[in-house]
Each structure stands twice: as C-alpha cells, then as structure tokens.
C-alpha cells in the first residue's frame, strides 16, 4: 500500500500544526465559532449530539496493521473504547474533546493518517472498491488513481469553498462494490478498443434528499489527463453550482438543471483550456504510486480447498469469502454486524485483534467497506479455518455478508445532530427479529439500509429494502423503500406509502420479506422479484 515520502509527511505534519494553531485561536477567543466551524470541519471535527465527533480518513478504505492499532489506541486514549466505521470507508469517534483534537491528529500523522477534508464543502476522502488489488474481476487496481486524486484534492486552493461537499469514487471492475454512480464524480477505469486504459467519468450522482444516478459524461479520459479532467469538472461546479440554497447546492443539481449535454459541453471547454495549464502530474508519478500497490508475494501451489467438515465454518466461507485473483487465496470479510449489535462499531480489543489478524493472515493489510465491515483482502484458503476460529472467539465471525442482518445504518439520533430518528435500534430489532424467525437463511442476498434523516448517510435510497427515519410531530416515524441498489445495476428505491412506528417498521420489513418468499422464482434475489412483480403485491401486504 501507499507509503508517504518526505513531502507527504511534511504536508500532513504541517496540517497538524495549522489545526493546533487554529484550535488555540478558537480557545483563546480570537477565532469565532462561525469562522472556526469550516476549519474544524475540514479537519473532520463536528459538534454532534453529545460531544465533538472526529472523522478520520481511510483513503480508499485501505489500512495496515499499524494504522488499525493506532485507531484502536485513539479510541482508548481519547474516546470511550470504540470507533464507528462509516459508509464512506472512514472511522469516526463520538466523544472527542476539542482540546485533544490536535494531539489526535499528531498521533494519526505518525502512522501516515489524517482527518483532512473528511467534512466541509471540499473534496472529501476518495473511496474505492474494498476488494481492490484482490478481486478476480478487476481490470487493474483502482487505488493508484485514487491516490493521484487524493494528493491533487488535498488542500486544493481553488476548491476548498465549494457550494457543497464533493465525493469522488474510483473503481476498476464492471461489478460495482462502491456505489460509484451515487457519487459526485464516479470514475471507472476501463480499457478502450486499442487496449489502452482510461477513465470513464460519471458526474452528478448522489443520495441525500434528491437522489440521482450519475450519467456518464465522458467514456474515456486518457490516464494522463485524469487530474486535468477532474479539475475541469470541479471548476465548472465551483463557478456555477447553486449557492442560494444548500439543499440544491450539490453538483447533481447543477448537472440536472443544466442537462448532461450542457454540463458536459462546459466541462469539455474548460478541459481544453486546462490542458494548456500543465496541471497534470507526469505519468512517472502514476508509475511511482503504482509501485506501492504491487501484488504482495503470493505463494504458489496452495490448496484451493478448505476443510468444510465444520458446518459453521463452511457457512462462513460461503457467505463471507470472495473470489481472489490469485489461486489459493480469498478475500475474507469480517462482519461488524452481530445480531443485535451496532452496525459498524468496533471495540478497542476488536480493532487490535483485526490489526493482528491482518498482519498474520493478509500481508499486513485490511480494508473498510462501505457496508461498514472489514475485509482481510488476501487470505490463504488453507489458513481460513485458523482465522475463522480466532474471529469466532472474538464475536467477529458472524456469517451474514449481504444478508438481511448485514444492515447499513447511520448513527442516527443516538449520536447525530442532523438526525430526525434513531437508526441503530431499528437495525438491532430487525436483525434480532430475523435471527429469531429463522428467515434470514431463506432470504439470501437482501441489502437493507437505514438512514435517520433525509441526508441518507445510511444509503436508504440504494437498499433492496431502505428505511428512512423522519420526525412526525416530534415522534420517530419510519418510511419503507423498496427496489434500490448501489451496485452496477444502480437503482433508487421507491417509498411504499405511509410510514411506520419503530415496532411497525420491523413488522413491515418482515411482511415485505414474506411477499418475496411467496413470489420468488428460481434463483431470484429479493431485488429481482421486486423488479419483476412491482410494488403492488408489497403494498397490498403492507397496507391492504
């Protein structure tokens, strides 16, 4: 994985000192909250319901064991013994003191980490495929391109006061595991007919209160123009994105209002101009970065069969392991979704354990997924049982990847000052209900996603089943959505009808699941059946 050189380290160290100085000025009163707020946000520091919350960037979701240990140490030293992995592949801490924040950033800098631009109206942490560099179906490892863009977007002087936040995602396979088309810019690395690599740009997607699937505005941007093209996309947005209404300020509204053709025309015009400005790093820089993402030293001649005599272990392999490009290896997902647990939360002990397991079994690497789980990307099949046994002992062996109890949930009203309703208790009750009624096995793949407000951090628009918490006259109320997907078959869920109470929504999810079980045909997932039979049978069961 990427290693900082002296330049990267100096930039991050300078940022720590800058924030230390800004914090000092805030505490001594020379900086007012109004002016401090965007600065602390650009360092990942929010003021949430109970305290300050710090969001730490995990660039493209990749961590080594030292970094995971450091994240655990921060949870222990400065927080309350746990952290929360997010749908943007980051981690956040809920109980941070402002006066500690500069020291935390300094601790992070020691392991080449930071919280730069994890909030604010700027280019955020760049996300990617959690199986990058491991998946059998990828064209190339997308992370070097994400890293090029990470450096370009860090402290960008022109694009730090954008109309609104800006999220970029880079993938390199036709299978989308990162919700690429629901980003402000989604990039897919592709190959053209001549066999050259390039980048397809999807611009103007997003969730939030106006969910939009990004259209492709350029099918092939040559790799030596990646930064230049991104710069053109951003400049058009910075100049013409709406600033009169924060709910209409994301780039998706600009692209939608201008129309894809007109936005594209403006970008192409700006791009032609930008090409003359020499803003693109040389290909040698890409090559330099790529050297950090070489395949690890995979062994050859390994067994590709595991001993499946233990049925619990066999189940975990079938559900939580993903095909690897190297024979004899798989990518193993550690579920942070135990039945009744808090989706995405990990304790200090669990983080240390995952770090140790990454070191021992996965070439010192682990990944954060947008579904709030952790991946060990390169595990020998012959050592899986050993690994699984250790996970089981620590309560990390739940075999439920992409099933109804592998729920994405935002922190909701338990932690977040923007939330209208709690998300976590709903997730807990649903996973408990389906564990008790035994239907989870039968349901197979069913992605359920819960947001506690319209901002959609819990990706409810993109859930096969989505739940949106709203405030109805001071009481929590939950709307049900069906038919969303964040994968390559991206679609947006539709609301079934009137909302439900906290207990009512759990019943409603079970009813929707029952409709699927009654109607499904061979091999259909919940999503497939919904797409075939439509909303009516579900409405009938829910409200009839």
């Amino acid at each position: 994985m990427y290693k900082y050189d002296q330049y990267d380290q100096a930039m991050v160290d300078a940022r720590v000192e800058e924030f230390r100085d800004q914090t000092r000025r805030r505490l001594d009163g020379s900086l007012a909250e109004e002016h401090f707020r965007p600065l602390r946000l650009m360092n990942g520091l929010y003021l949430q319901l109970h305290a300050y919350m710090l969001r730490v960037a995990v660039p493209y979701g990749t961590l080594n064991s030292d970094q995971m240990h450091a994240l655990a140490d921060i949870a222990e030293k400065y927080d309350r013994g746990y952290g929360h992995f997010t749908t943007r592949q980051n981690i956040q801490y809920n109980w941070i003191k402002l006066e500690d924040a500069p020291d935390i950033l300094a601790d992070l800098a020691k392991v080449e980490m930071h919280a730069i631009q994890t909030s604010g109206n700027c280019i955020r942490n760049i996300s990617s495929d959690h199986f990058a560099g491991a998946a059998a179906d990828e064209l190339v490892d997308p992370r070097p391109y994400a890293e090029i863009l990470r450096q370009w977007s860090s402290f960008h002087p022109e694009f730090s006061y954008l109309p609104r936040k800006f999220k970029i995602c880079v993938i390199a396979s036709d299978t989308d595991r990162a919700a690429m088309r629901l980003h402000d810019i989604g990039i897919q690395i592709v190959k053209n007919d001549a066999g050259e690599l390039g980048a397809a740009f999807y611009v103007g997607g997003g969730m939030g209160r106006t969910p939009i699937i990004a259209p492709c505005i350029n099918e092939f941007v040559p790799l030596d123009q990646l930064v230049t093209y991104s710069e053109a996309c951003l400049r058009v947005y910075n100049r013409y994105g709406r600033r009169d209404n924060k709910y209409k300020a994301r780039i998706k509204i600009l692209v939608h209002e201008l129309g894809k053709e007109e936005y594209t025309r403006q970008v192409e015009e700006e791009f032609a101009h930008m090409l003359e400005q020499g803003v693109e790093p040389p290909l040698a820089e890409l090559e330099r970065i790529k050297t950090y993402f070489q395949d690890p030293d995979f062994k050859t001649g390994l067994t590709d069969r595991a001993d499946r005599s233990d049925p619990d272990f066999a189940l975990w392999i079938d559900r939580n392991c993903h095909k690897h490009k190297a024979p004899g290896y798989v990518s193993a997902t550690i579920s942070l979704k135990p039945v009744g647990g808090i989706p995405g939360d990990a304790s200090v002990e669990q983080m240390h354990l995952m770090a140790n397991l990454a070191k021992e079994y996965s070439f010192d690497e682990c990944r954060v997924t947008h579904a709030q789980n952790i991946v060990l990307p390169h595990v020998e099949i012959g050592r899986l049982h050993e690994l699984w046994t250790k996970l089981e002992e620590a309560g990390l062996g739940t075999p439920n990847l992409d099933r109804i109890d592998d729920i994405i949930a935002c922190p909701g009203l338990d932690y977040c000052s923007l939330a209208n309703a709690r998300s976590i208790p709903v997730a807990q009750k649903i996973s408990e209900r389906f564990a008790a009624n035994g239907k989870a096995d039968e349901l197979g793949q069913l992605k359920l996603k819960i947001s506690g407000c319209i901002n959609a951090c819990g990706h409810h628009h993109a859930g096969h089943i989505g739940i949106l918490g709203v405030d109805r006259k001071g009481v929590e109320n939950y709307q049900l959505l069906l038919g969303g997907s964040e994968a390559e078959d991206t679609s947006l869920g539709k609301i079934t009808g009137p909302g439900f109470s906290e207990d009512g929504i759990v019943d409603a999810v079970e009813k929707a699941a029952d409709v699927y079980l009654a109607h499904r045909e061979d091999g259909e997932r919940f999503l497939d059946t919904y797409r075939r039979i439509g909303m009516d049978p579900f409405k009938e069961a829910l409200y009839g």
Partner: protein, 99 residues
C-alpha cells in the same frame, strides 16, 4: 418553560444553564423566560458555552425538567443504544424518559 443548552467549548460536553453556570445535568436547568438571547450572548462571548440555543421544556410528573423534543432528551441522557455510556448507566428506566 424555556431552557438553555449548548456544549462546553473545550470538552464538547452537553451543558444546561442552571441560572449561574452550565451544568451537565438537565435537572439543573432553569426557566430563562425572555432572557435567552441576553444570557446566550453573554455566555458565548465569555466562551463558557459553545453554540447555545433555547428549547422548550416542561416539568414531568416528578417535577423534573424534560425537554420537549426527543433530540434534546437524547442529548440530556446519552445514546439510547449504549446505556453504559449515558449519564445514568445504572438506571435502565432512564431510557423510557427519553422515548
């Protein structure tokens, strides 16, 4: 009644205006009547509180202050999904007060 809440500037802890100072306990909150803006302006410039705001509250059956909105009751107690991290870890019934 109108009460004032905010966060401690240094620690971020949720605080409530008790008439003299900022308390960690909502039970200490006092009715500020029409003095909200005046108190908040003064206290914020003295950096004794960060981002204060006034909310509606009532006295519950036991004569204790209860914020009108669930969000402020969650703030007053702590996350309902981690009773161990709330201000009343040994009183499970406190969660009913929130919801």
């Amino acid at each position: 009644m109108k009460i004032l809440t905010g966060n401690d500037l240094k620690t971020g802890a949720v605080t409530w205006w008790d008439g003299q100072d900022w308390s960690l306990h909502v039970e200490d909150a006092v009715d500020v009547g029409d003095k909200a803006e005046e108190i908040m302006g003064r206290e914020e410039s003295a950096r004794r509180v960060n981002v204060p705001y006034a909310i509606d509250a009532e006295l519950d059956g036991n004569g204790k202050v209860r914020p009108a909105h669930i969000k402020d009751r969650v703030r007053a107690l702590g996350p309902t999904v981690r009773p161990d991290l709330t201000l009343k870890p040994t009183e499970p019934e406190a969660l009913n007060w929130v919801i």
